[in-house]
Amino acid sequence: MLEYRVEIALWAISGIIPFFMLNIWTSNNLNESINISDVMLSRYFLCAFFVRQFSVVWVVFSFEEDSLMGKVSPYLIQPLNPFFRYFAQHLAEQITRFPFALIIAFFFFIFNPESLWIPNLGILLLSIVSTFLSFLIQFLIQSIVACLCFWTEKASSIERLLFIPTLFLSGLLAPVVSFPAYVKSWIYLTPFPYLIDFPANLLSGNDTNISGGLSMQILWIFLLFPLFKKIWSEGTKKYTAMGS
């Protein structure tokens, strides 16, 4: 992973959309209407950036390529689910990305010194746990989509479709508190706000229901995992070893 330092640095830069959004919010004083101060909002978006950096998943794209090239066949013989391999790759890259994310945070605090804060240890640990749970949820959803590769050649376009609600509803572009009431009434039943909004609120010290959020995250994992197991066992039966 260290071989691709430039790549990963660029990846980290490509995640800076939350900062552009923050800029729109603060330069137009939009946050007054939702009762969040400038400082809290900038912390929120910084945390959203961090959560996104450590929960981003691309297993569909790796799996689709491997499946089209016929690389999945040798993996299937091994006594380990191939998704463990991708899981380990994701974890390794997250660790490599950490220093770059810190550098971006450093620059952020230079431009916004007033928003510097140190979360207490308990909150920090809890938010690391919830970020990891958010990563697990996204990894499971994408693995389920990836398994569709067994039926169709281009599962990545389904992933691109699923990415749209994730982008707009997860809180990456606007905190979920700012959403209109007709969306807020149902959004907490979907997995989306627990992907970025909940961990980011937790880390930045904004109001949030900690136990409720964590239990919803765990609930979604328990719902998605059997689904993944099922689709995986169905899919491997359909497997036709393309390209080999």
């Binding site: 430039v6 330069s27 281009k154 572009l173 209109p180």
Partner: protein, 264 residues
């Protein structure tokens, strides 16, 4: 330059890539739903910004919708032409098949920028046009000949700038081989083209007009639609677009000198 020959070749390109893309019909449907959802999502985001404010950066909601429409059209064009071809360029360079392109008795930039086409982008372009027509109605814009020609000029300039940006990044593949992430960076910067330039703080505005001219891509055409644009801005966009086009051409020819082929 033999224009007739190039048109004929382009017709063949269209035919072959359409034939191969139509193999994946469900894929096109999924892409259409993606385009619609993405437009709905960004209008939703815009409505959050406007829920308690009448103006963002001096733009009303109805006016900001024009930017969304133009962004959608340009994004459709990117998905139809720039994105699939760029993917090909990267592959050509990595696998050394650029040799075959260079040997052909045809301009290499023409070949690699127009070889492929992705028909699902057309639907996005149409979606953008519908939104644009709707915006023309709700903003009560009078269509006149000068207005139509000005908006066509600015939009084609935007397309040129966009093309040059994409082509510039794909050209750097000759040195760096892997440029996927540079593309992601460009994508995320282009994303701010969905919002009026004035809604950003001064320093970002300067950044997005000078270093990466995203400001020119959507804001100036939208201002033309609203009749707000001054002539010097349009002139500036024409100049920026031609500078970008010429530079991307020069840069490609320069980069080819460093192309050393691969695995052959």
């Amino acid at each position: 330059m033999n224009l007739r020959k190039y048109l004929k070749v382009y017709k063949k390109f269209l035919h072959t890539s359409l034939a191969s893309e139509l193999e994946y019909k469900t894929n096109i449907l999924v892409d259409l739903i993606t385009a619609i959802l993405s437009l709905v999502g960004s209008i939703f985001l815009l409505s959050i910004f406007f829920q308690n404010n009448g103006y963002i950066g001096g733009w009303k909601f109805e006016q900001a919708l024009i930017i969304q429409a133009i962004y959608t059209i340009l994004n459709g064009i990117t998905n139809t032409w720039f994105n699939p071809n760029l993917t090909e360029i990267v592959k050509h360079i990595r696998e050394g098949t650029l040799d075959f392109v260079l040997l052909k008795p045809i301009d290499s930039q023409f070949f690699i920028s127009l070889k492929k086409i992705n028909p699902s982008g057309f639907l996005e372009i149409m979606l953008g046009f519908f939104l644009l027509l709707f915006c023309i109605r709700i903003n009560q814009i009078n269509l006149s000949l000068s207005f139509i020609s000005l908006s066509l000029i600015t939009i084609s300039c935007s397309i040129c700038i966009l093309y040059s940006l994409w082509f510039f990044i794909s050209t750097t593949t000759i040195w760096f081989v892997k440029t996927w992430n540079a593309i992601e960076v460009l994508r995320s910067f282009l994303y701010i083209g969905r919002f009026p330039l004035n809604s950003f703080s001064f320093s970002l505005r300067v950044f997005f007009s000078i270093f990466i001219p995203i400001a020119f891509i959507t804001t100036i055409p939208s201002e033309v639609f609203l009749g707000l644009s001054q002539y010097w801005k349009i002139l500036l966009e024409v100049i920026v677009a031609s500078v970008f086009l010429i530079t991307s051409r020069k840069f490609w020819l320069f980069a080819l000198k460093f192309y050393s082929s691969a695995s052959s």
